[in-house]
């Protein structure tokens, strides 16, 4: 393929994925509010449109028309930079997550992933590490005590859980022998998913993903009763919306990553749909829907956990990260290496 064809296909995939992501984010917020209301025996938003279905658009419109307040004690440049970093990180990490197998359209063979690079996992790790800067900058530059405390706590939390996250991925790499996400999905095959082979790694990765995305039970950076709004106390209008958007986009990317690394990506268990003799375009659609279904289930799990488990105390959070998750993820690596040596997986 020529440079322009590669760029054209990439832009097409980016446009499709970003628009789907934005739509999902809007409705994820809506579903979160409805599910939380359901969990707490309330009604939730049900006025704008049928059963509140237009609520996300009303929210965005409201935030768009609000005044952008920057406190006079704030460092204006960094205060503006923080939400930009948060959004940048949230809307770049999806690039290496495969949502389907390679397809053949006309004379082109197109992998259903924006960038099919063999360092995909390193790319994700590098960018999610940048996310710490958004939170730290936001907390430091606001000139508010709540923001500062929230920002510092949050950066400590995120770097602590990044370690167990990195070690958990080590177990996946042992089996896949590659950092390329498509290879990781392909080696898991139909049903031999990493979640079954290395349950400890799966659990530590999911817990770390919760901590990295600052979701409850790990949402210390914005612990409302003690820190008002945490690192985004002093943000308003679309800058606040930027953080909000980034948080939910990170949730989507995190569940996509969990599906890719541990739940077999787009693979479907039990049925081998290649041999059913379906028309050529149908298996691809089934694969993509399988991927989206797994992601949706995980997103529901994210929301479900948020409204079921109370927030950790700060020292409990750090103890869990350093004294439980870190040793467990190390044990996981030894476990997988032992499995490979004994059973030649």
């Amino acid at each position: 393929m020529t440079i322009w064809e590669i760029l054209g296909f990439a832009l097409l995939k980016i446009l499709v994925i970003v628009s789907i992501m934005l739509l999902t984010v809007s409705y994820l917020v809506y579903f979160e509010r409805r599910i939380s209301a359901w969990a707490q025996n309330r009604l939730g938003p049900n006025r704008v449109g049928w059963e509140g279905i237009l609520q996300p658009f009303a929210d965005v419109l409201k935030l768009l028309l609000k005044e952008d307040i920057v406190p006079y004690q704030a460092n204006k440049t960094i205060h503006t930079l923080a939400p930009i970093i948060a959004l940048f990180v949230a809307f770049t990490t999806y690039a290496v997550i495969p949502f389907g197998p390679t397809i053949n359209v006309f004379d082109y063979s197109i992998p259903l992933v924006v960038a099919d690079v063999n360092i995909g996992i390193l790319y994700v790790l590098a960018l999610t590490s940048l996310g710490v800067y958004a939170v730290t900058f936001a907390g430091w530059s606001s000139g508010s005590k709540y923001s500062l405390l929230g920002g510092i706590r949050s950066s400590a939390q995120m770097i602590s859980y990044e370690i167990s996250m990195g070690f958990s991925i080590g177990g996946v790499l042992l089996l896949a022998e590659s950092l390329r996400p498509l290879t990781i999905v392909e080696t898991q095959g139909q049903w031999l998913w990493n979640a079954w082979i290395q349950p400890i790694g799966f659990i530590t990765f999911v817990v770390s993903a919760f901590a990295e995305t600052n979701r409850l039970p790990f949402d210390l950076p914005e612990a409302e009763p003690e820190l008002v709004g945490g690192f985004h106390t002093e943000y308003s209008s679309m800058k606040f919306a930027g953080f909000f958007l980034a948080e939910y986009a990170n949730m989507i990317v995190a569940s996509g990553l969990i599906v890719t690394l541990y739940l077999g990506g787009y693979n479907i268990p039990f049925i081998n749909i290649e041999t059913l003799g379906l028309p050529a375009w149908l298996p691809v659609l089934i694969y993509i829907s399988a991927f989206l279904f797994k992601m949706a289930a995980l997103l529901f799990f994210f929301i479900w956990v948020r409204w079921s488990i109370p927030r950790f105390r700060y020292d409990q959070l750090m103890s869990l990260g350093w004294k439980v998750m870190f040793p467990l993820s190390l044990i996981n690596i030894i476990w997988v290496a032992a499995l490979i040596m004994i059973f030649n997986l």
Binding site: M1, I6, F9, A10, L11, K13, V18, L64, L65, E67, D68, I69, P71, Y72, Q73, T80, P83, I84, L87, F88, F91, T92, A95, V114, A115, V117, L122, Y123, W140, G143, K145, Y146, L148, S155, A156, I159, E162, I163, I169, G170, G171, L173, L174, E177, L179, V228, T233, E234, M238, K239, D315, S319, W322, K323, F326, I333, I334, A337, I340, M341
Partner: protein
Amino acid sequence: MILEYLPILAVFGFAIVFALATVFSSEIFGPKRPNAEKLSTYESGMKPVGTTSERVSIKYYLIAMLFIIFDLEVVFIYPWAVQFKKLFNQQGISVFVSMVIFLVVLELGYLYVYKKGGFKWD
């Protein structure tokens, strides 16, 4: 080979444009009526007291140092993990043992920090 990374460049460009558009859109659409109370930082309705450029607990610094040490360990694990199956078939158990020795050395450091109370946050 290098063309594989072209889509990533496109993703970066798109993300930067998107982020800038989001953050600066309220400058265009939102009202601009600042006053002194509105521009002061939030402190539960009180006048803000003191500054935020004060010292931060040493504990956070310690966490950052520990993060660097153990995150480097992760970086050393990855190339080993990717090559493990191949090297194991060639050289046998010594591939595993060498990594275990490396981990044990680092975990001695971990135990030292643990004993010294580096993981206490109360």
